[in-house]
């Protein structure tokens, strides 16, 4: 009964979404007010219906209804309740439903917060989001029905993949999807702007907070996924450049370019068609990522062969959304104008170069991700081009990007002055070079100069932090006056920028030091043996069997000492999940400010010995801290008061154009 209610509410949601798409579009085109007014209630209704459907699926999981095919395939009665709930998005059908749920939630948010937008514009935005829903709902109902019954019901269920039985599974996918789906708002605004021709500074002001919010979610989502890989996959890596990770990284890069491009559009009315194109690309990459991964196209192209319907549908859906919006772009973008002019050296030009670099980086990740897929689709074999490609492409691209990131905020709009910039940044530059050269000498072990990669990494890290600090200091002290009072007067977006840019520096420092100075040993250890690593002594003290709710395990005890003094005791486990008969190594990690101590069990060798991996990774936590700072920066900027005021202005002056210079350019429209 419950699953049927879920299915029925999905059908109703489809009808609501159709109304939400068609009526407001007709209304906006013909000036039919009643049609436009349908958008908001339809968005609310669609959200409620999707919540109901999602609730029904979750209920089936929590109550072990193994007469539902999808539940039987992804859950088990012995699975702890929290994982039974998270198992809702453990497979293809349920994760699509989660995608839809979050899309309708974002749509609801837009419906609630767009009361001050002109009715026709809000109607178009909601219609575009409704259209995306329609595509998803058709896919769910006809090709990926999560409520399909299994007759006769299964006795127990096939269990959730043990790799996914982790707290990370509960928080990581929803966060990541919030990010992916959140970019649909910027996308819908872009399409609405292209349709209506209202693409001005005010438009950018509306879009910015939504984009920043989505970007923040995506940053946190990627961080959580990465941290999860770090302690679950068991071998101490945290980023593998595999297609699934790349799928989340591409929209992140494009989204980063987008939030910066929006600044220029808002402040100077420039880069309009570029900003719109980025908004389209960011969401398109989100779709490409989710669907390629979720349909199994990337991990195994044979999903196409197994279910050609799904593969074709995904391709058709992508073609309609991406192809349609790019066609609209080609048709309408030439009319939106160029905005204010700027010279070769200005904040605009610096932001533009950074934008181009970020876009090229996203493009190169796309290339590296699709290349193996294309070969595989053609049945040329399964290939991995792996980290060597990405590292070779990425470091040279990011070096100028990070350098420009330090210069950009210092430069004036319209026209900047090279000697002035040099004067403002020379201290930061000197400090960062000195840090990069000196810091390796201070690292544990015999003093020695860092390798070129370490010095480059440390320089970029120190430069990010030092240039940000220099910018903050100058902004607060320039022209005299009370710096303390100025501190309170700065907008939140500015603090957000400082945090995010400094976060990049912290992140790079973590990556450089963790990769450059890690100590790792993979060895055979007898019970009672001690291994030294990076100044710590790891002792394999004992090993005892233990049981969990749905697994049995061998649990080792590793007291760690330094110079004879106890530091911490680590308990790595080797688990055997009984239903799927799958062994999984659960590493134990002690995270500290300057180092992570990491122990993972490999395989038993003989009666009393095991292969063990011991690692000391310096400054690992800095990687996570850097990402958190970026996310915090995004959050602060999204909450800037200016955007709330912008909507008041919009209510009074529906045709307002905040940047005077943009008016002239609109003459060409």
């Amino acid at each position: 009964m419950i699953p049927e209610i879920g299915l029925f509410s999905l059908i109703l949601a489809l009808l609501t979404a159709l109304a939400q798409t068609i009526l407001p579009l007709v209304g906006a085109a013909t000036g039919w007010q009643a049609g436009l007014r349908v958008a908001r209630p339809a968005a609310v209704g669609q959200f409620c219906l999707t919540v109901l459907a999602f609730g029904c699926l979750a209920w089936s999981f929590v109550h072990n209804d193994f007469s539902v095919l999808y539940v039987a395939g992804n859950s088990h009665a012995d699975l702890p309740a929290a994982y039974r709930f998270a198992a809702v998005w453990g497979g293809h059908e349920g994760s699509l439903l989660l995608w839809l749920l979050l899309l309708t939630a974002w749509t609801l948010a837009v419906a609630v917060f767009s009361r001050r937008l002109p009715l026709a514009f809000a109607g178009r935005v909601l219609a575009v989001m409704g259209g995306i829903s329609v595509g998803l709902l058709l896919f769910l109902l006809f090709l990926s029905n999560p409520f399909e019954r299994l007759m006769p019901p299964a006795m127990a269920g096939r269990d959730l993949n043990p790799l996914l039985q982790d707290p990370g599974m509960i928080v990581h996918p929803p966060m990541l999807y919030m990010g992916y789906v959140g970019f649909s708002v910027a996308f819908a605004f872009a399409i609405a702007a292209l349709l209506s021709g209202e693409l001005d500074a005010l438009w950018a002001r509306w879009v910015r907070p939504w984009t920043l919010a989505a970007w923040t979610f995506l940053t946190v989502g990627i961080l959580l996924g990465s941290a999860w890989a770090y302690y679950v996959l068991g071998w101490g890596g945290w980023w593998f450049w595999d297609p699934v990770e790349n799928a989340s990284f591409m929209p992140w890069l494009a989204g980063t370019a987008l939030i910066h491009s929006l600044i220029v559009t808002e402040r100077r009315g420039a880069f309009r068609s570029w900003t719109v194109l980025l908004a389209i690309c960011t969401f398109s990459l989100s779709i490409l990522g989710t669907f390629l991964v979720r349909s199994g196209v990337l991990t195994s192209v044979h999903a196409f062969a197994v279910d050609p319907g799904r593969g074709l549908y995904i391709l058709a859906f992508m073609t309609v959304i991406v192809g349609g919006s790019l066609a609209l772009y080609a048709w309408r973008a030439p009319t939106v104008g160029l905005g204010g002019g700027f010279s070769l050296l200005s904040r605009e030009s610096l932001l533009l170069s950074n934008n181009v670099v970020l876009t090229v980086a996203a493009g190169s990740v796309l290339l590296g991700t699709l290349y193996p897929v294309v070969l595989d689709v053609l049945d040329w074999g399964k290939i991995s081009i792996g980290p060597p490609y990405f590292e070779a492409v990425f470091v040279p691209l990011m070096t100028p990007a990070i350098f420009l990131m330090g210069v950009g905020p210092m430069a004036r709009w319209k026209q900047a002055d090279m000697p002035d910039l040099g004067r403002r940044l020379r201290v930061a530059f000197a400090v960062s070079v000195a840090t990069a050269v000196m810091l390796p000498l201070a690292m544990p072990g015999a003093p020695r100069l860092g390798s070129p990669m370490i010095v480059l990494g440390l320089w970029l890290a120190a430069w990010s932090v030092a240039s940000t600090a220099a910018h903050a200091a100058q902004r607060l002290t320039d022209g005299g006056g009370q710096w303390l009072r100025r501190l309170g007067r700065q907008p939140r977006a500015w603090y957000g920028m400082l945090l995010a840019h400094a976060g990049i520096g912290i992140f790079i420092a973590g990556v450089t030091l963790a990769n450059g100075y890690e100590v790792k040993h993979e060895l055979r250890m007898e019970l009672g043996a001690t291994q030294e690593a990076g100044g710590y002594q790891f002792t394999f003290a004992s090993l005892a069997p233990t049981t969990g709710p749905n697994y049995t395990a061998q649990r080792a005890v590793f007291p760690v000492t330094r110079d004879g003094k106890p530091v911490v005791t680590l308990y790595p486990e080797k688990r055997l999940y009984t239903v799927q008969d799958m062994a999984l190594s659960q590493a134990d990690i002690d995270s500290g400010f300057t180092r992570d101590l990491f122990v993972a069990l490999g395989e038993p060798v003989g009666d009393t010995a095991w292969t063990v991996r011991i690692q000391v990774k310096p400054f690992m936590t800095w990687i996570w801290t850097g990402c958190l700072l970026m996310a915090l920066g995004g959050l602060l900027a999204a909450g800037d008061k200016r955007y709330r005021r912008a909507q008041d202005v919009a209510a009074r002056l529906p045709k307002a154009d905040a940047a005077p210079s943009a008016h002239a350019a609109r003459g060409g429209a």
């Binding site: 593998f240 595999d242 068609s273 194109l277 389209i280 690309c281 398109s284 196409f304 050609p308 593969g311 074709l312 391709l315 992508m318 073609t319 991406v322 192809g323 790019l326 066609a327 772009y329 080609a330 973008a333 030439p334 699709l370 290349y371 193996p372 294309v374 070969l375 595989d376 689709v377 053609l378 049945d379 040329w380 074999g381 399964k382 290939i383 991995s384 081009i385 792996g386 980290p387 060597p388 993979e522 490999g602 395989e603 292969t611």
Partner: protein, 173 residues
């Protein structure tokens, strides 16, 4: 106008290509290297860096060169097949450890088992270029005269081994 059409054009090209891929028949891999002499390898051995892999000494027998790396996911999937090839069929199997850190590669072999007679460390991928390596894994069948007779792009599944590689090797022997 034209430049505004560029993004659409790029996307449509990708979409058309993917659509073609959906319906395309499997086909053999063309390789410029087929029937050419196998380039010399002359690289330090992974497990014994003091020694070098000498291709000349393999003259007179059919052998396999498998390109692998510890960072490559599919490489682990093809290990059972490789082990089978080396042990049951007794074909000399050599590895080219491509763009990898030797210590990572040794860890990987220790963890997953080592099917190779020996592996050469191609840390900078120089020899990989000589062999025209697209990606990892790849496998070359080299005959007694030292010529490349077959190249498998991507992992060897039991099916590919049975239907494509084994017949080639048997014909050569």
């Amino acid at each position: 106008m034209l430049r505004y059409l560029l993004p659409l054009g790029a996307f449509m090209a990708m979409a058309v290509f993917l659509a073609m891929g959906l319906s395309r028949d499997p086909r053999a891999v063309p390789s410029a290297m087929i029937d050419k002499p196998a380039p010399p390898i002359d690289l330090p051995l992974l497990q014994a860096p003091a020694q070098r892999l000498d291709v000349q000494s393999l003259r007179g027998q059919v052998w396999l060169l498998n390109v692998w790396a510890s960072w490559c996911g599919p490489c682990r999937d093809e290990l059972p097949v490789l082990r089978d090839v080396a042990q049951r069929h007794g074909i000399p199997l050599y590895g080219l450890n491509y763009k990898d850190k030797p210590e990572d590669a040794r860890d990987w072999l220790a963890r997953n088992g080592n099917p190779y007679v020996a592996s050469a460390s191609d840390t900078d991928g120089r020899v990989g270029i000589e062999y025209g390596v697209y990606g990892v894994p790849e496998t070359f069948v080299i005959d007694g005269a030292g010529r490349i007779r077959y190249k498998q792009l991507g992992l060897i599944t039991p099916d590919i081994w049975r239907t494509r590689i084994q017949p080639v090797i048997e014909a050569l022997q």
